[in-house]
Subunit: 219 residues, 2 copies
């Protein structure tokens, strides 16, 4: 492939990393707004979403042009089609951050149930998963991608723990139900962020090693 | 493009339609198992999932080969990259049906809360959305794809209605909380099925008309 093509692939990577930075910021802000009960930060999340949406369209367009004009095969083609998938996953991660920001806004109407510990912890792991899966993609590092799969188990464990704790609150006092329910749904949004990062990581492993981990054919 | 290429595109369509049939069946069975409290049907859902997973890998592989060997551009290239996206969406719809089947199994441990009406109704719409979005893809019918977008609003309305009703149950009697909570989560899985179908429909509109509806730039 030509130098121009290589430069274009490098630019594609940069765009995806930039978009990844934006969605990580959206996760951080949406959880900060929840923990600090700060409506201003939610506005920031919505602001970032516009940029993410514009990037999604731009990246998709770049990928199609790269294929049509350069007719790549093998690892180059897989890299570009992976970029298209990652692009969709990132946009959906942004959507989940929006869902969290909206739920946080809703929660401002009620007094705080408890000091939140597990949810911010779960969010930190989910955010790191997003970072790692993108790094694994640009470095073609299957080892790092495998770490993301392991982190997803941690996220699922936290989801269960949060569910059980909040269920106890709901059963102890009826008045806690609406708030506890909203917090459970927030933990589900975080779980989905972990799932999207896992999808990316699985695709990276496939791209690098030709192994299909999407349906856990190996331990 | 060659006749062989056209035949391969037709085969790709058929594979996607077949996979779509499988996931529609998974939705139907998972909800039937919930309504009829029948564990046997859940097993069927898990059985279908294996086939869906195998198809996902096969279709992805076909698409990559089609691009690498035929170097298509324009609408043909967009059709194949859309097929790759649709393939992922269908697999995730299957995952949601699995989530519903698992929740239904869990619910067998508790007595029934109420006769379920809105959830099966919501499932019917979601299933029809999957059918329509696939039909719109193979026929390149943007009008039908737009109908899917309209149906998604209906699904979201039902989700809200189900949430409010079940919240009332939870508040009325503490013992209803675990079951009502599980039903709320099932309605969220159905909502996500609707979202996946919407993603497909938006991609079809983009493929056919070159319009980007993914971020609702027009009414």
């Amino acid at each position: 492939m030509t130098k121009v093509f290589d430069a274009e692939l490098a630019e594609l990577k940069e765009k995806l990393l930039f978009m990844g930075g934006l969605v990580q910021n959206m996760i951080r802000l949406s959880i900060k707004s929840l923990v600090e009960r700060n409506e201003y930060m939610e506005t920031e999340v919505f602001f970032n979403e516009n940029e993410v949406n514009a990037l999604q369209i731009e990246i998709d367009d770049r990928c199609l042009k790269l294929i049509a004009l350069n007719q790549p095969a093998g690892i180059d083609l897989r890299f570009i089609t992976s970029a298209m998938k990652i692009n969709s996953e990132l946009e959906r991660i942004g959507d989940q951050a929006i869902n969290i920001a909206e739920a946080s806004k809703e929660l401002l109407k009620s007094p705080q149930l408890k000091k939140l510990i597990d949810i911010p912890f779960m969010a930190d792991i989910a955010k790191l998963m997003v970072k790692h899966c993108l790094d694994s993609f640009v470095r073609k590092d299957a080892g790092l991608a495998r770490e993301v799969l392991a982190m997803d188990n941690q996220v699922d464990g936290l989801k269960e723990q949060i569910f059980r704790e909040l269920l106890t609150y709901m059963i102890s006092e009826t008045k806690y139900i609406p708030v506890a329910l909203e917090l459970i749904l927030i933990s589900r949004h975080l779980e989905r962020i972990g799932d999207h990062a896992t999808n990316i990581a699985e695709d990276v492993i496939f791209m690098v090693q030709g192994e299909d981990v999407r349906h856990h054919r190996f331990p």
